[in-house]
C-alpha cells in the first residue's frame, strides 16, 4: 500500500430525489486504506454538506451504507478505494430496487413489511433447551445477515420485474430458513413461502449469494432447501395422500 498518497479520485455521485436527478463529480484526496464511505464523508464535510448517505457503524456490522459502486451493489464501508480503478470516475448510485428518497438514501420500508409476515420462532411444546453446536452452526450462518438488502437490490425478480407484491426476496428466505432450521422450532412456514413470499419465482441464478458481504450461501443453503420443503409439503404424492386421509378423519 502506498504511504501518504497525494493522488485524487473522482467520485461521480447521484444527486437527486424522487422527482429525478443527475450525477455530480467530486474530487477527493486519497488516504491509505480509504473506503468509499470515507470518500463520501469527505465530500459531505468539504463540498456538499447536504449529501444524503445512510450509514452507522462504518465497520461492516450494521448494513446501512449499501449503494451501487461502479454498478455493483456493495457496502461502501467495506469497499476500498485502492481496489477500484482510479483513472476514471467512481460511480456511486443508490440501490436500484428501492425508491430514491434523496441522493444515496432509498426507501427500504417494504423490507420491514415483508418481515412482519413471517411467523416468529415457536419453540416446540416441552422443549428442553439443549442444542448441539453442529445443528446451531447451520442456522448461525443465516443469522449473520446484517440486513444490508444488497441481495434484495440485485435480485432480478425485484430489481427488473418489480414483483414486490408477490415475492419476499433473498433476505427473507434467509430469515425464514433461520427459523425453519432452528433446532427447537416447531412451526411450519411452507405455506407462507409458497403463497406469500413466492419462493417459486426464484430461479436460482445466485446473484444474491455473489453480493452478500457476510458470505452467506443464500441460494445453496437457504433457498434451495426451502424450495424442497415447499415441494415436499405441497407436491409430494405420498404426503398428499396422507393428508387426504387425515383430513377425512377429522371430518
Amino acid at each position: 500500500m502506498a504511504e501518504g498518497s497525494f493522488a485524487d479520485a473522482t467520485l461521480r455521485v447521484f444527486r437527486g430525489d424522487k422527482e429525478g436527478g443527475a450525477p455530480a463529480d467530486y474530487q477527493v484526496p486519497l488516504v491509505p486504506g480509504m473506503v468509499v464511505l470515507d470518500a463520501l464523508h469527505w465530500v459531505q464535510s468539504h463540498q456538499a454538506p447536504d449529501l444524503a448517505v445512510r450509514w452507522n457503524c462504518k465497520a461492516g456490522k450494521c448494513g446501512s451504507c449499501s449503494a451501487e459502486v461502479n454498478g455493483r451493489p456493495r457496502l461502501t464501508c467495506k469497499t476500498r478505494m485502492d481496489a477500484l480503478p482510479l483513472n476514471e470516475p467512481i460511480t456511486i448510485f443508490p440501490m436500484k430496487a428501492f425508491p430514491v428518497i434523496k441522493d444515496l438514501v432509498t426507501d427500504v420500508s417494504w423490507n420491514f413489511r415483508v418481515n412482519q409476515k413471517i411467523p416468529p420462532f415457536q419453540p416446540r411444546p416441552d422443549t428442553v433447551w439443549k442444542m448441539d453446536q453442529r445443528d446451531v452452526d447451520r442456522v448461525q450462518e443465516f443469522r449473520k445477515c446484517i440486513e444490508c438488502f444488497l441481495c434484495q437490490d440485485v435480485c432480478h425478480v425485484l430489481r427488473d420485474h418489480g414483483k414486490q407484491e408477490q415475492f419476499g426476496g433473498p433476505r427473507f428466505f434467509v430469515r425464514t430458513a433461520s427459523l425453519e432450521m432452528h433446532p427447537l422450532d416447531g412451526a411450519s412456514r411452507a405455506r407462507l413461502l409458497k403463497e406469500e413470499l413466492g419462493i417459486g419465482l426464484c430461479n436460482i441464478t445466485k446473484c444474491c449469494t455473489e453480493v452478500c458481504p457476510e458470505d452467506i450461501h443464500i441460494t445453496d443453503n437457504a433457498i434451495i432447501p426451502l424450495k424442497e420443503r415447499v415441494v415436499d409439503e405441497f407436491y409430494d404424492p405420498l404426503l398428499m395422500l396422507v393428508r387426504k386421509i387425515r383430513g377425512a378423519k377429522k371430518v
Binding site: 488516504v31 467495506k78 439443549k130
Partner: protein, 569 residues
Amino acid sequence: MHEHDVLIIGAGGAGLRAAIEALAQGVRVGVVCKSLLGKAHTVMAEGGIAAAMANVDQSDDWRTHFRDTMRGGKFLNNWRMAQLHAQEAPERVRELEQWGALFDRTENGDILQRAFGGHTFKRLCHVGDRTGLEMIRTLQDRGVHLGIDVYMECTITRLLKDGDRIAGAFGYWREQGRFVVFKAKSVIICTGGIGKAWKITSNSWEYTGDGMALAYDAGADLMDMEFVQFHPTGMVWPPGVQGILVTEAVRGEGGVLRNKDGERFMERYDPKKLELSTRDVVARSIYTEVREGRGTEHGGAFLDISHKPAEYVKRKLPSMYHQFLELADVDITKGPMEVGPTCHYMMGGIRVDAETAQTSIPGLFAAGEAAVGLHGANRLGGNSLSDLLVFGRRAGLAAAEHAKRSEMPAIDSSQIEEAAQQMLAPFERPDGDSPYAIHDDLQGVMQSLVGIFRDEEDLRQALSKLDELRARAARVRVEGSRLFNPGWHLAWDLHSMLTVAEAVTRSALKRRESRGAHSRIDYPGLDDAWGKKHNVVVKKAGAMTLVETPVLEMPDDLKQLLAEDSGAK
C-alpha cells in the same frame, strides 16, 4: 401528533427490551429511533453477555459476578444495581434463547461461556464475535411481532413537560425534515453513549449523547460524567479504520499483547491477570508503551492470536478475521494486529433509581448506556449487554406502571413552537460555520485534552475551547433543504455533544484523583474521600452546575461479600 402510554427513545438493546416489557403490561408503546430498526449500536457488540449461568465454570454465581462488577468499577457503582444485575442477568439470557437467539454451545448442549477481562469465571454467553447482532435481531423480531409501533429515522430534539412531569417529546423525521410531536405519560431514554465527541472512537454516528443532553435540558441529573471508557484495542492502521473495535474476545480466546521489542508488557502492569486485566488498566498500559517509545510503527501495540489454529480463529472470531483481511490487509491467523485505545463507552449518564430506572423527573426513565450506576468507574466487558436486558426490562415495567396510574398530560403549544424555531434557525443565517468543521474541532479538543490521561491544565484549556465551540455552534449555518440533510442533522447533534463534553470535562476537573477510567497525571492515586462521593451535573438557571453526592451505603452482608476472596482457582 402521536400518543402513547410509554414512549421509548432509542431502539438498541435497552429500548427494545423496555418496549417488550411495557407491552406485556398491556399499555400502548411507541419506539423512536434515529436510524432504521436493527442498526442501533448494540449491533456492534461483539464479545458476549455476562451472566453467571455457571455452564462452564460451575463455581460461578451472582455473588462472584457482583463482586467482580464492584471491583472493576472501583466501588463507585450503585451497589443495588450491581446486585440486581448479577442476580437477574441469567434469566434475561434464557429469555433471549426462548425468543429464538442461538448462542454457541458447550459439549453438553448448554449456552457456552467465555473468559473476559475482570471476570473471575468464564461468564460471557456469546455468538462467535457477533453477539450484539444476535441480541438485537432477537429483540427486534420479538418486539415487532408483539405490536410495538416503531418510528424509524426520527430524531428527538426536546423533551416536553407538563409542569414538573414528563409529557412527551418533540423531534423531526430525518427523511422529510418535517416536525413531529409525541405525547406520552412515560418516556424512557435508551439513547446510548457519547463517543462521537472524540476523534478516535469505536462508536457510530448516532452516539452523540442525545439522551443525556435531553434529560439534562429537562432538569434531570447527570452523574459520574468523568468516567469515559477507552477500549484498549481499536484498529490503528490504516487511517480510515482508526478506532474500529477489536473485540476483547481476541484476548479472551488467548490473544497476547506485545510491544515493538516483542515484550509481553502486561507482565509489568498486571502480572496476575495479564491481557485479561480490566479495560482501564490495559488501555493505560498500551498508551504508556507507545508514549515511552515502545509502540508499533503506527502508534499502537501488537495483539497476536496467530498461535491458535487458523480454523479456530476463523470460527470464534470471524468478523475480526474479515475486518483485518479486508480493511487492513492483515491475516490474523498468520500475524499480529496493530491496536490502540479507542473511545468506547460512557459509564456516566442520567441518574436513576436502581429498582425502577426512574430519573428525578416524574415519568422520565433511563436505561442502558444513557443511564448511570451499574458500572461505577470502569465497566467490565460483557456487562453492557446484560445491563441493557436487566435494566431495559425494569424500565419498561416501571414506565408502564407509571403510565397506568397517570392521566394523559397536556402539552402547551409554546414549548413546541420554541423547539421548532430552534431547529429552523440554522437555515436562516446568511453566514456562519459549517457543522462539520465545528464537529471536527470538538473531536480534536476532546481527543487531545480530555483523553485517557488528564491534568488540570489540559482540562482548563478544554473548557475554554468548549466555550468557543459553543459560541460557533450557536451561529452554525446549514445549506440545502430539510429533505434528508445530514448537515442539518449534525448541526443539532452538536448541541448534545457539546453539552456532554462540557459535563465530562467539568467532572474530570473536579475529581482530583485517579480511579478506574479517570486518570489524572497530577493526582495519580486513589483518594479515599473521593471514593465516597459522586459528581452530579445539573442545570441551574441555565448554567451547568456541579454538586457532590455521597456513594450509597451498602448493607453489611454485601460488604462481607466484597471482603471475601474472589474464589478463583
